[in-house]
Amino acid sequence: MAMNSFEWVDATTVEQAAGMLAESTEQRPVIAKAGGIDLLDLMKEGILAPMRLVNLKTIRGLDEIDTENGLSLGALVTLDRIDSDPQVRARYLALSDAAGHAATPQVRNAATIGGNLLQRPRCWYFRHDHFHGEGADEMGSRGADENQHHAIFDNDKNAMVQASTPATALVAYDASAELAGGANGSRVVKLSDFFLPPEMQRAHDARIETGEVMTRVIVPPLNAGAKAAYRKQTERDSYDWPICDVAVVLTMEGQTVQNASIVMGWVAPTPRRAAESERLLIGNRLTDDLARQAARAAVAGATPLAKNSYKVPVLETVVRRTILAAAAG
């Protein structure tokens, strides 16, 4: 399908972009465009019909990688650069791998980290214009019956999952987003608080206000001796969306786990911490058996839907494998 006509503005500063975005209304949507990958998809599918697009790519200085103190990624840094930057790879392996395993080489060349975190869910009801048009009412009164790719946790109301896979690693590294242009100027939000359970009828599934521009993703410095691993479990090795993905960051002393951060994507509406698994690991020698216990704890309390119970054993496996990979790494 072809898209509707729209205006295109090349922004030159964050302030100018934020000013234009602040004018957005439901009738006359003004939408930021970074790599444009998700945006164009949604426009072509007839799900988004912006009146005006504000191109962020023309703003200078939003595409810098700084590894001085922790890691700072400009919102326009592409997934490919996160994957290939040697400093990022050396220190933040799980993030680097997450970026490198997202999408396809062509998409990674265009997709930005800011846009990636703000992409909409891949739920096939959400992606089908019927459920935004004639079928919206019927959809509103029931859940997703074809829920094989939906959440297995926190899914009683809405089972759509956040799509970003780099988000899984970023939350594990306790990263934050920097947002500019809002009423209070610039602010920094922890990604663990940033995401909202996706819903059909809204502009963003995240705590970003109309008129705000994401400027940076900030990752705190790591503990000395931190080890990490990332696993994205797909049906295909060629590009595919995950059944689940898992990022593990461990601080070890010898074989003993000092600190653990385990985050799971695509299994809950937003990236989910495996808090009980972390507790089981901390202070203990990491053995195959401990990893197995931690993985079991990660899926405890799962409430799979009619068609996605297969995700539970897959998640358990991937958590175990990723813990062991992090420890080995």
Binding site: M1, W124, R236, S238, D240, K307
Partner: protein, 802 residues
Amino acid sequence: MATENQARADRPSLRSQSLLYGIVGQEMRQVTRQVPDDEPPQLPVNAELRSIGKSIPRLDAVQKVTGAAKYTFDVQLPGMLYARQIVCPWPHARVISIDTSAAERHPGVRAVHVLETLLQSARLRDPEAEARNKYPTVRFAGQTVAAVAAETQRIADQAAKLVKVEYERLPHVTDLDAAMDDEAPIVFPGPVEQPSTAGGGGAPEGLPQKGNVRGPNFGMPGMTPTGDIDQGLAEADVIVETEYRTQVQTHVPMETHGIVADWQDDGLTIYASTQHTHSVRDEAAEYFDLPKSKIRVISDFTGGGFGAKYGINNFGLLAIHLSQKAGAPVRMMLDRREEHVSAGNRPNSLQRVRIGAKQDGTLTAIDVISWGSGGIAGGAGIGFCFNALYPCPNMRTEQYDVFTNAGPCAAFRAPGQVQGIFSLEQAMDELADRLQLDPLILRDRIDTKPTDDMLARAHERKVAAERFGWSRRRPPNADAGPIKRGIGMAQAQWVYVVSPPTTVEVRVADDGSVSVYNSTQDVGTGTRTVLAQVVAEEFGLNAEDIGVFIGDTRFPWGPPSGGSRVTASVTAPARNAAYAAARDLAARLAPLFDDADPDDIFFADGKVGVRGKEGAARPLKDAAKEAKFGEISKLAKRHDDYEGFAVPGELSISRHGLGGVQFAEVAVDVETGVVKVERIVAASDCGRPINPKLVESQVIGGIIQGVSYAIYEDRIMDAASGHQLNANVDQYKMVGSRETPAIEVLLMEQIGAQSSTDARGIAEASNVATSAAIANAFYNATGKRIRTLPMNPANVLATLSA
């Protein structure tokens, strides 16, 4: 019958001739056949030929990779308009009213047309039930209702939204099992009929129908039940009894369906992405009451077609109407969603299979009952393999069509057989296991029908087993870790069919250059190249020297690219016409060689000469210029096979089939349910391979499509809304480059002594065995049978934990 009398009148005079027969490299023998008098002598084996049997690159390779090749998608005509269909958002509805006025007023819109006749659907036996409806009833979400043509695609898209359609919604059902329920919503208000297309499919007339369930259909002629199933089962030492399920596979060619229709006062020209130019012409003639002589259909290149690209379809009907109304050419290409939803799919199946055998493997009973849904179209059977592959005294295959509110099925690369072999060849593997026989030994014992494909498979089992390393096979579930490896094999069988109306023209211009003409299209198989190679052989030229003109109904009638019949149908008359033209040319050039006997004139390496005086040979070009002869033109028709056909007709079916054996190696991660096909060895036969590289390419394509079907592809219908949820190429998962296994093709050269080229088909046969071979390897890897497709993590983990 008139056609039969005519066929008799056409029958050429015959000569009795001794011909070489058998698999090259194996023991061959002479057979005596009745050969039409005007046919050339039998070709020697490929090793002794110069052009035929050589793996030259396809002639249009550069055009294709540089983008110079013009597909229907690329056609641009002066003043051409763009069309968009209006499709129904509801899965079952009566159309109450349609208001096109706003769309008609929209600037840039040139025509709007409402569909009056629905194609691609089963038809009510008694149309009375819906006779009072003004418009065709909508029976699936995405069914087309009308279309607009406008100056740009964007205007057409916008205007399509302005067409106001009032619907009365009706209850719907999309799920196979749900539709079989007595209480299920009814898709058709009475019994229906479904004729087949040139690609196959369809169902016999007059079958009983109760609710949505139509049948039993006992299949093609020769599939009628034989013997006594109960007695056969009573005689059995072992009975294998199981249920299998296969999913719907949608049609995903690179180029979607589409046409450009150009209605002019003096006739209609259609550019079509089609598998049969003539089927487009014939349907256009029928629905627009035009003489066929006033319709021209052109298909220079078709971007893939697996059985669904025949005729004009609903979108074509609309495009032609729009062109007629607007007085301008109209381009109508389906978008990817329309292609998935409405263009024709491989139906799903539920199969209950019972096989009885003696301790030594002797089959005593094959009893199969199947249900499948092709949505609003019939033809969801499971092929003929149960009856045709392994002889058995007691056989019954009872097949039912179940109608659902979903897009129509169409023929799809070995229609039915892919589903049937998935269960038959797994059942055989299970039988071998129960009898403690090597699966190959079981096949040696039971694959005994006296046909060429049986001989081919017997040989293929040996060579493929050796290349594959079958002797490495371990007991099931032999790996200790979570990644389990295993190997398995399955056999293929498909019909060998020919279209005898096929006629080929070969011309020699007065400069000695040679060209060949036939209306058949090239859907990517390499038909141009194959025709050139066959003609070049007779003139001692290179394939590149031959002008090949195809994909145009102005040329003599050519076969559909369906039923794997093109090469078998066109190469024999191409050779016969080329031979006749070459002999004629020889007679005209003989005066240049001291009035030599034309029979002694030969053509080789671009030269013409006289046998015995090879040194005096001269370039054909120069000789032609000097001889100053008029243009030579010869037409030749595809004669019947020398032994005739089991079922003659426009689609003539040989009693011989096509074989093929595939071996697969898989790795199953039993913790994640991910199946990876690591290697496939395919031994294949296609009679005489005219271009082995092109044949291999077909086999590789068939295997890749087979892997895709086995592991990934699955149409997901939302029962509540009736919509396909994954009608795109992101969520409809297909095999990618990294899922493509290492593939080795071992190609037989089998001389059947049936035609002047002895070429047979390959495309469908190569797709038949793959999913069963993978499933058998899965069993060897895990010790569990996977009876549900696709083998994705959800189905695999359910199987492993069962």
